[in-house]
Homo-oligomer: 216 residues x 2
C-alpha cells in the first residue's frame, strides 16, 4: 500500500462518514420538519407517527432511530420553534438600520405572529405533563434572549431614546412582561390587542421612553 | 331506645368523628410544620424522615399515612409556604390605613423577607425534577395573587397615586416583574439590592406614579 493509497482510503472513509452523518442529520431534520408542519396544521392529537413518517418520506423504523415516542418528537418540534424565535430575534437585533425602539417593536410583532401561528404547539406545552419540557424550553429561550435584550436597552440608552439607570435589569423586566403573555387566551383577539397596548404603555414608561409620537 | 338516646348517639358519633379528623389534621399539620422548620434550618438534604417524625413527635408509620416520600412532604411544605405568602399579601391588601403605593411596598418587603428566609426550600424547587411541582405552585400563587394586585392598582388609580389606562394588565406586569426575581442569586446581597431598586424604578414609572418623594 502506498502512502497515497492510505490517504485515499482515509479520505474516502472520513468522507463517507461525514456524508452518512449529513444524511442522518437530514432524516432527523426532515422528521421534525414534517411533524412541525402536521402539528401546526392538523393539531397534535390528529397526527400519528405513521402520518409523520409518510410526510417525511422515511420508513417507520427510521423514526425510532431518533425518537421513542410522539411526545419526544414534540419536544424536538418545540426546540425547533424556539430556535426559530431566537434566530429571528437575533436577526432583528443585528439590523444596523433600526434604532432600539424599532427593534423592540419588530421583536414584539414577530413574537406575536409566531404565537398566533404556532399556538397549538405552544399551548400543548402548558399541560402539566409537559411542565419539565416547557420549563426547560422557556428557560433556554430566556437565557438566550436576555443578552440580546440587554444590548437593545443599552443601545436605546445611548441613542437617548430610553432613559433608565438600570439597563440590565430593565431588559429582564421587558422579558418578564413578554413572558406574561403566556396567560393570554390567544383566541380572544380583542384581549390580545388590549394586552399588547397595555404592555407597550408599561414598557414605554418603564424604559423612560420620551418624545416619541408612538407614546400617545 | 328513646329519641333522646338516638340524638345522643348521633351527636357523640359525629363529635368523635370530627375530633378524629381534627387529630388527623393536626398530625399532618405537625409533620409539615416540623419538616418546614427542619428544611429551612438544616437544609433539605440533611433532613431524614425519621428526623421529621421525631421533631413532630409522631410514629414513623404516621408519616406514611399522609406522605409516600420525603419529596411529597416537601411539596406540602412548599404549598404551606405559598399559603403563608398569600395570607400575608391578603393581610396587607386589606389594611385600610395603607394607600396603594404603601401596600405594594409592604408586599415587596414581605416577599423579600420570605425569599431570604426560605431560600433553600425555594431554590430546591427550581431543580428540574421539581418542575411540575414548581409550575403548579407558581401558577397557584400567581392565580391567587393576581386579583389582589388588580385591586391595589385600581385603588392606586382612584387615589390618584397611580396613573394607568390598563390597571388589570398593569397588575399582571407587576406580578411578572416580581416573578423575575427568580433569576436572582439571593446570596449576592448587592445584586439583590440593585435588583429591588431597579424593579422599584420600573414599576413606579410603568404604573405612572407621580409626585411621590419615593420616586427620586
Amino acid at each position: 500500500m502506498t502512502k497515497d493509497t492510505i490517504w485515499y482510503i482515509l479520505m474516502t472513509d472520513s468522507h463517507s462518514l461525514i456524508m452518512a452523518r449529513v444524511r442522518e442529520g437530514n432524516k432527523k431534520e426532515e422528521l421534525v420538519k414534517a411533524a412541525k408542519y402536521l402539528f401546526m396544521t392538523e393539531g397534535i392529537n390528529q397526527v400519528s407517527i405513521s402520518k409523520i413518517v409518510n410526510k417525511a418520506g422515511v420508513a417507520q423504523g427510521t423514526f425510532y432511530l431518533y425518537f421513542d415516542s410522539k411526545d419526544e418528537i414534540l419536544d424536538a418540534v418545540a426546540e425547533n420553534i424556539s430556535q426559530d424565535i431566537l434566530r429571528n430575534v437575533q436577526h432583528i437585533a443585528e439590523d444596523d438600520v433600526l434604532n432600539a425602539f424599532e427593534k423592540l417593536g419588530n421583536i414584539k410583532k414577530m413574537f406575536f405572529d409566531f404565537l398566533l401561528s404556532t399556538d397549538e404547539v405552544i399551548l400543548h406545552f402548558h399541560g402539566e405533563e409537559h411542565a419539565k419540557a416547557h420549563d426547560r424550553l422557556a428557560e433556554a429561550i430566556n437565557r438566550q434572549l436576555l443578552p440580546v435584550f440587554k444590548d437593545i436597552v443599552w443601545q436605546g440608552n445611548q441613542e437617548g431614546i430610553f432613559n433608565t439607570d438600570y439597563p440590565d435589569e430593565a431588559a429582564e423586566f421587558v422579558l418578564a412582561i413578554s413572558g406574561a403573555s403566556h396567560s393570554l387566551n390567544i383566541e380572544d383577539k380583542k384581549a390580545v390587542k388590549r394586552w399588547v397596548s397595555a404592555a407597550d404603555d408599561f414598557l414605554i414608561k418603564g424604559l423612560g421612553v420620551k418624545e416619541l409620537d408612538t407614546r400617545h
